[in-house]
């Protein structure tokens, strides 16, 4: 430890540098000015000036999801800090590692209703995995290093550090990351061997197994994804990946049956419903996946692996619950499997696949393009064809377009698909794409959105243009809050209450005003060439595709219904769900 004194601002930048941070997303303000003065005088940590602090947090999420490294945000006190709240909760729900630094009024004014004071640690206590208020410049380095440790260990999540202006201005000692003994927070990594052996036995003896992969596998890292893929291939079992896990197992693999849940494929949901052994690794039995809990996969034994003990038995009781990191458990499992060489019931697995092929044969994602109006599915299918094989990343907003993107775009690699799953935050897509593109300047980054969500963080189009980031915005413009309209049509007697967006702005003019190249597509015949032009035009491009406002996302399991009550298309009646308390959730 050196005895040299540094200012708080210098300590912050040094600590970020030593944590391997190369970029932060921020917005300045009164109390962070002394830190911005230090940012000005260095070039090790790059600062991206976003248009709104919420955008900054989503950008950091996109950066984190696409790199596997923690994302870093910097906001000022008061309104700067409160603007981060939605992004922080989004990261909390989707287990994204973030470190958010906020400025705070000088220590002796805290509690005085000072100008731009907010009780940031109080407000964000339920919005973060953990948060800190720094009392002295001497504590700063230790707390920043600890924040990175907490954000990235165990189940990842956002950690906030609130730093009063006098702490930034004052001087203190610096500590290197390795000099900081992280406190008593030691999540369990290794799964219990006995339970892993029990899991192998159960899984090997299964007649109708399913491997259900969740976002935890992506969080665990690329190696965990490879191991999951290896396990699926060596067993020959079907694999489904949640919305958060698309890409953890290659979508092009014939063993992939698609996504489960409300808008999942027929084959994935039927397989989940009918299986006799379910191996859940890193998924949390979200209610959008389980549907009616009491009827969820009624005949199966369930193995659940999660690094977060509170995920086990939260909604679905596991027959074998294994606490541990997905990668570590998979590694042990594959090794023990190799040692034991258990016999798989190949005949049963073969007839299980026959059943699954029958469900697959229903072709639940088919749609009817027709001649005049562009179907959103058609647009996305063409996007898939044209980006397949290239080095691409996709972010989405929230709504129908998000579900269609999940259904129609295929991911063969992890960390390529960024979406707001748990919180469902409209306004996530554009800033997330900005963060991804900053991390991967040479790759193709497409943001699939629709005009409702787009308007929620549209200011980040300016950030994208300002930094000349070649983000491609793929706007499925249906002139309506499509997902709202769909539910109103299906469950509220088609009362289209407050969802119409037909009076919206001229998006082409708007995109151009921001400095994007804008392309308009209105005819099915132009879709392909429009997408090609979007992909080949240099710099930021906005593609406005006018799509059918009346199209619905199918298949659909109504909220609170069991999986086998899946509705395949517009001509099949939606059954009313008896459990009314669940219907409109």
């Amino acid at each position: 430890m050196s005895k040299k004194l540094y200012t708080g601002g210098e300590i912050i930048l040094k600590a970020l540098g030593d944590q391997g941070v190369d970029v932060i997303f921020g917005y300045p303000g009164g109390v962070t000015l002394p830190l911005y003065d230090k940012i000005y005088q260095q070039n090790k940590v790059r600062h991206i000036l976003v248009g709104h602090e919420q955008g900054g947090v989503h950008a950091a999420e996109g950066y984190a999801r696409s790199t596997g490294k923690p994302g870093v945000v910097l906001a000022t006190s008061g309104p700067g800090a409160t603007n981060t709240v939605t992004g922080l909760v989004d990261a909390l729900m989707d287990s994204i590692p973030l470190v958010c630094l906020t400025g705070q009024v000088v220590s002796n004014l805290i509690g005085n209703d000072a100008f731009q004071e907010a009780d940031t640690t109080g407000i964000t206590r339920a919005a973060t995995k953990h948060n800190y208020l720094v009392h002295s410049t001497d504590d700063l380095a230790r707390l920043i290093h600890e924040a990175f440790y907490v954000a990235t260990h165990g189940r990842p999540g956002p950690v906030l550090i609130d730093i009063p202006k006098d702490v930034i201005l004052g001087t203190g000692l610096y500590l290197m990351p390795e000099d900081v003994q992280p406190r008593n927070y030691n999540p369990k990594i290794r799964g219990d061997r006995e339970k892993i052996e029990d899991a192998i036995q159960l899984l090997a003896a299964a007649k109708k197994p399913i491997i259900y992969v969740g976002g935890g596998v992506i969080n665990s890292g690329q190696k965990a994804c490879q191991l999951a893929t290896q396990l699926v291939r060596m067993t020959g079992y079907p694999c489904t990946t949640t919305l958060m896990a698309l890409g953890a197992f290659p979508a092009s693999d014939p063993q992939f049956v698609g996504m489960p849940g409300m808008h999942g494929t027929y084959e994935a949901n039927m397989a989940m419903h009918q299986c006799d052994v379910m191996f859940n690794i890193g998924a949390r039995f979200d209610d959008r996946v389980t549907g009616k809990v009491g009827s969820f996969s009624p005949g199966s034994k369930k193995i659940h692996v999660d690094i977060d003990p509170s995920s086990l038995n939260k909604t679905i009781v596991a027959d074998i619950g294994i606490i541990g990191d997905a990668g570590s458990v998979l590694e042990d499992m594959i090794r023990l499997w190799d040692e034991k060489q258990p016999t798989i019931n190949t005949a049963a697995i073969k007839s299980w696949w026959n059943e699954i092929e029958k469900w697959r044969g229903v072709r639940c994602l088919s749609y009817d393009q027709g001649e005049k109006i562009i179907k959103p599915q058609f647009a996305l299918e063409n996007l898939r064809k044209l980006i397949q094989g290239s080095d691409f990343y996709v972010t989405t907003d929230v709504g129908q377009h998000q579900m269609w993107a999940a259904q129609f775009l295929h991911f063969d690699k992890p960390n390529r698909w960024m979406t707001s799953g748990g919180l469902g935050t409209m306004g996530y897509g554009v800033p997330a794409a900005l963060g991804v593109q900053v991390a991967h300047p040479e790759s193709t980054v497409v943001c699939v959105t629709s005009e409702g969500s787009l308007m929620m963080n549209i200011q980040e189009m300016d950030t994208i243009a300002k930094y000349q980031l070649p983000v491609k915005i793929f706007n499925l413009n249906n002139k309506v809050l499509g997902m709202i309209r769909q539910w109103q049509e299906l469950f509220y007697d088609n009362h289209e209450s407050e969802c119409d967006l037909s009076g919206g702005p001229d998006f082409i003019g708007l995109a151009e005003a921001f400095g994007f190249k804008a392309i308009q597509v209105t005819d099915p015949d132009e879709v392909c060439s429009g997408i090609e032009k979007m992909l080949t035009t240099k710099g930021p491009v906005f593609l406005n595709i006018e799509v059918d406002r009346n199209e619905n996302v199918f298949p659909m399991i109504p909220a609170g219904a069991p999986h086998n009550e899946i509705v395949l298309g517009p001509n099949q009646n939606l059954k009313t769900v008896d459990d009314k308390s669940n219907v409109m959730a």
Partner: protein
């Protein structure tokens, strides 16, 4: 704990939670209960180790077995929480509560309240010609009974600490 409890039966559990004594830690624990809709029947908190900087929170809550299991897992997830023990599940424990009970009255009422206090081993900690303040330590049940009987005599005010608890036997937490 007896094992004949059915999964849907609601039962009372006492948790002992050792936490870092830092700003906001009580808010985190209480916020977890209110945010997730768990009950708090009793809560006490105080520093127990000024060298290590640990406080202990004793929480009495109720729920089905799966809710109790969730509460434990959720508590363990909080970064400043060092140890959680479910005293109801993990074995036998001692549970105590203290109450200060103010009774008003003259003549026979004074005599009756003193006799009752004797019976419950409560101490007089304040007295005026027309009132007493009794201090009583015991199980919550005993306190309930004492206070209930004082009500007939002239109870005017009560303060209770909430339950503190510790596992029986030689083991540390």
């Amino acid at each position: 704990m007896n094992n004949d409890i059915t999964p849907n039966e609601v039962c009372e559990h006492t948790f002992s939670v050792l936490v870092d004594n830092e700003a906001g830690v009580l808010h985190r624990v209480v916020g977890l209960f209110s945010g997730r809709g768990y009950n708090i029947d009793s809560l006490t908190v105080s520093e127990v180790d000024s060298v290590e900087g640990y406080s202990k929170i004793t929480i009495v809550t109720s729920g089905t077995l799966s809710v109790i299991e969730q509460i434990r897992a959720q508590l363990e997830r909080l970064v400043p929480v060092q140890k959680v023990s479910d005293l109801t599940r993990d074995g036998r424990s001692v549970q105590r509560e203290l109450a200060l009970v103010k009774v008003q009255g003259e003549g026979d009422d004074r005599i009756n309240s003193m006799q009752l206090a004797d019976k419950f081993q409560a101490q007089v900690v304040d007295s005026t010609p027309e009132s007493f303040v009794f201090e009583i330590v015991g199980s919550s049940d005993t306190l309930d009974r004492f206070i209930g009987e004082m009500r007939h005599i002239g109870l005017v005010d009560v303060s209770r600490t909430g339950i503190v608890a510790i596992a029986r036997g030689a083991d540390e937490m």
